[in-house]
């Protein structure tokens, strides 16, 4: 088992074994990231494959200021966004002034496995899904999301609000239907 520095040095030299080891170390987590952004396993695998090729090609640019995992994740997210570019379907605008009515009782998620939550995210319209991931999970703010996706800040906010509304209602529906919370 090599350290991250050794892996990076080996991958920079084009050592295929090191590249495979680096892939094995991060692929599983990055695959979940891909699944959050695109619909379907095949498409997620395409994104993952393309992202790791970029990782190996851009490893010369990696600086140790950020962790290797967060650097790879950034590449994966950008690849997923590029994959979606031109395909993002934005849900019709909602009135953001009425958002307070959407707050309601927020359900806890600790009772759910990530695979279930993943399925819920994948059911979102593509625009809502991407913005939800960027805001709620990656931690971007709406201004950054607007710059990234070339949309307005208002659009980012409204799409996120809609995503939140849809997810809330789906979780409520699950609970109503006696969904087993496995923990």
């Amino acid at each position: 088992m090599h350290t991250e520095e050794e892996l990076v040095a080996g991958c920079r030299k084009g050592d295929r074994k090191m590249q495979h080891e680096l892939y094995q170390r991060f692929a599983d987590k990055m695959f979940v990231v891909c699944l959050r952004y695109v619909q379907g396993q095949l498409e997620a695998e395409d994104v993952l494959q393309e992202a790791f090729i970029k990782v190996f090609n851009k490893l010369e640019q990696y600086r140790a200021e950020a962790s290797l995992s967060s650097w790879i994740k950034k590449i994966v997210v950008n690849t997923a966004l590029n994959h979606q570019r031109g395909k993002l379907y934005m849900y019709p605008m909602v009135d953001v002034d009425n958002l307070h009515s959407m707050a309601g009782q927020e359900l806890t998620l600790s009772a759910y496995q990530f695979q279930d939550l993943l399925r819920l995210i994948q059911e979102l319209p593509s625009g809502c899904r991407v913005i939800f991931n960027l805001y709620a999970i990656e931690g971007y703010n709406h201004k950054e999301i607007a710059e990234l996706l070339k949309i307005s800040e208002g659009t980012s906010k409204s799409q996120f609000a809609r995503a939140r509304q849809l997810l809330q209602s789906r979780i409520e529906a699950l609970e109503k239907n006696g969904y087993e919370k496995v923990r």
Binding site: Q19, Y23, Q49, L99, H100, E106, A136, I137, G139, K157
Partner: protein, 493 residues
């Protein structure tokens, strides 16, 4: 009202729900990465190889130019040197009308100078009139030598008949080694006359009464040498002017460009504009026509074949041959699904038709662009006229010509192996003509390995002068091809 810019606990719960979440992807992902990295390495190697090829070709051209310039310069110098050594053959005439022999000039070539010696002590005075007879226009003709020799053999002159004839005609024959004799010796050594050959030539000369039986001593030796040298030179000239042949094989590396353009009745630009129009629902065209010319790239292609040539004269060569070429180029392409088989294929110029324009969901793999490889196979029959710029140990030949290109097959493949390969075979259904013609501009730098072999380096450029695509195709194509071949030849005399 909660501001949407402040992340709430809800968002943080979602974040923590996915902390450490992992799912293993299928093995296909690493296989795809592995394959892509291999292809990148091969491309880097090919680019480096192509770079070195072009450096080699440029170096060859530079060497050819330099070699040609140096050799031409040497030829000029040699000619000047010969002129310089020939001038002193003309003896000066003093006030009494008597010719004085000249000393060997200092600019003479080394071997002549070494062989010649100073000659001063052996110089003998002879009447100018006799010089004029024997020395005809600066050339030493064996007839005139013979006439002068026989004239002096009979007469009592200042030198006397008992003196050796080498002293009677100093500018021709010198007892130590005259300039002329040295030149004759040099000519003989150049032509490497074996002794039995020399004997047979002398016999021939005697048979034709070119050399009298009565000649003896150094005069006979010198006359014989002149005769043999002139015969050898004549044979060499005949040998040089006789047609020669060579057979050879070559292997070339090329860059091929099919040069696809709109056909007469099809506008791919207008199709591209239509593709860009918003559609109902989340559907886009799978054809991706607007991207077909993006990233169009020539790829390393190969060409191998046999050649034959006949030397029509010293300077002109007629060449032909038979070659097999497999040429590749890459481009961004679209996709179509064959309704009857369900197979998905790359869609590009060669297999385009309007019924293949399909739409798919934006998130479908069919809507994604395809990195397509177009490969074309031909049998080529070139016919070239070569002009020999120079022919020494190295030689340079310029060879323009024409070639007939017989189309065999075109295959469109997906570089990422996601789609099936589409094959277009030559025939009435193909959008390509079975035969089209190329203009060729080529050069050959060759190096002789002994008398019967040579190796060559041949850069060439080919441009289609007739259309590769049929007149009723959706597109036009007039390919171009630039490459360098390495060849090996066997010379038949």
């Amino acid at each position: 009202m909660k501001k949407l810019d402040e992340r709430s606990e809800w968002e943080k719960e979602w974040e923590s729900a996915f902390n450490g979440a992992s799912l293993p992807p299928s093995e296909n992902v690493w296989n795809g990465i592995d394959g892509a990295l291999d292809r990148q390495e091969v491309r880097k190697y090919k680019k480096r190889a192509l770079f070195y090829q072009w450096v080699a070709a440029a170096s060859v051209l530079l060497v050819m130019g330099l070699g040609g310039w140096l050799m031409l310069g040497e030829l000029v110098k040699q000619n000047q040197g010969q002129l310089a050594t020939e001038e002193p053959f003309i003896p000066s005439v003093n006030d009494t009308g008597i010719i004085e022999g000249k000393e060997i000039p200092q600019q003479a070539p080394n071997e002549i100078a070494a062989a010649a010696g100073s000659g001063e002590e052996d110089t003998v005075l002879i009447p100018a009139s006799e010089v004029a007879v024997a020395f005809e226009g600066g050339e030493i003709s064996q007839k005139n030598v013979e006439n002068s020799a026989s004239a002096y053999a009979d007469e009592e002159s200042a030198v006397g008949a008992d003196k050796s004839f080498s002293t009677t005609i100093p500018y021709l024959f010198n007892s130590s080694a005259s300039l002329a004799e040295a030149i004759v010796n040099k000519a003989l050594s150049t032509f490497r006359a074996p002794s039995d050959r020399e004997s047979s030539l002398i016999a021939l000369a005697r048979g034709k009464d070119f050399i009298e039986e009565g000649l003896a001593g150094p005069l006979e030796v010198s006359v014989r040498k002149v005769w043999v040298a002139s015969e050898m030179f004549r044979e060499k000239e005949e040998d040089l002017s006789a047609p020669r042949y060579w057979l050879g094989a070559s292997l070339a590396s090329n860059l091929y460009q099919p040069n696809f353009e709109n056909g007469e009745y099809t506008s791919f630009e207008s199709l591209a504009v239509k593709e860009a129009e918003p559609t109902k629902g989340n559907q886009i065209s799978t054809a991706r026509v607007s991207e077909w010319k993006e990233d169009e790239e020539q790829q390393i292609s190969i060409n191998a074949g046999f050649q034959a040539a006949a030397w029509l004269s010293e300077k002109w060569v007629l060449q032909s041959g038979l070659q097999y070429g497999s040429y590749r180029s890459t481009a961004t392409a679209g996709t179509f699904v064959d309704g009857s088989t369900g197979q998905a294929y790359p869609l590009h110029y060669a297999n385009f038709s309007y019924d293949k324009l399909q739409k798919a969901s934006v998130s479908s793999r069919l809507a994604a662009p395809v990195e397509a490889v177009n490969s074309f196979e031909f049998i080529s029959v070139p016919l070239q006229i070569g002009y020999v710029v120079f022919d020494r140990q190295f030689g340079l030949l310029l060879s323009p010509g024409l070639s007939s290109e017989f189309f065999i097959r075109n295959q469109i493949t997906d570089e990422n192996d996601r789609l099936s390969t589409f094959t277009v075979n030559a025939g009435k259904d193909a959008p390509f003509n079975r035969v089209h013609f190329n203009a060729i501009m080529g050069a050959q730098l060759y190096y002789k390995l002994g008398e019967n072999y040579m190796i060559s380096l041949e850069p060439s450029f080919r441009q289609a002068i007739s259309s590769f695509s049929k007149s009723d195709s959706y597109f036009n194509s007039r390919p171009s091809n630039i490459g360098v071949a390495a060849g090996f030849r066997y010379i038949i005399r």
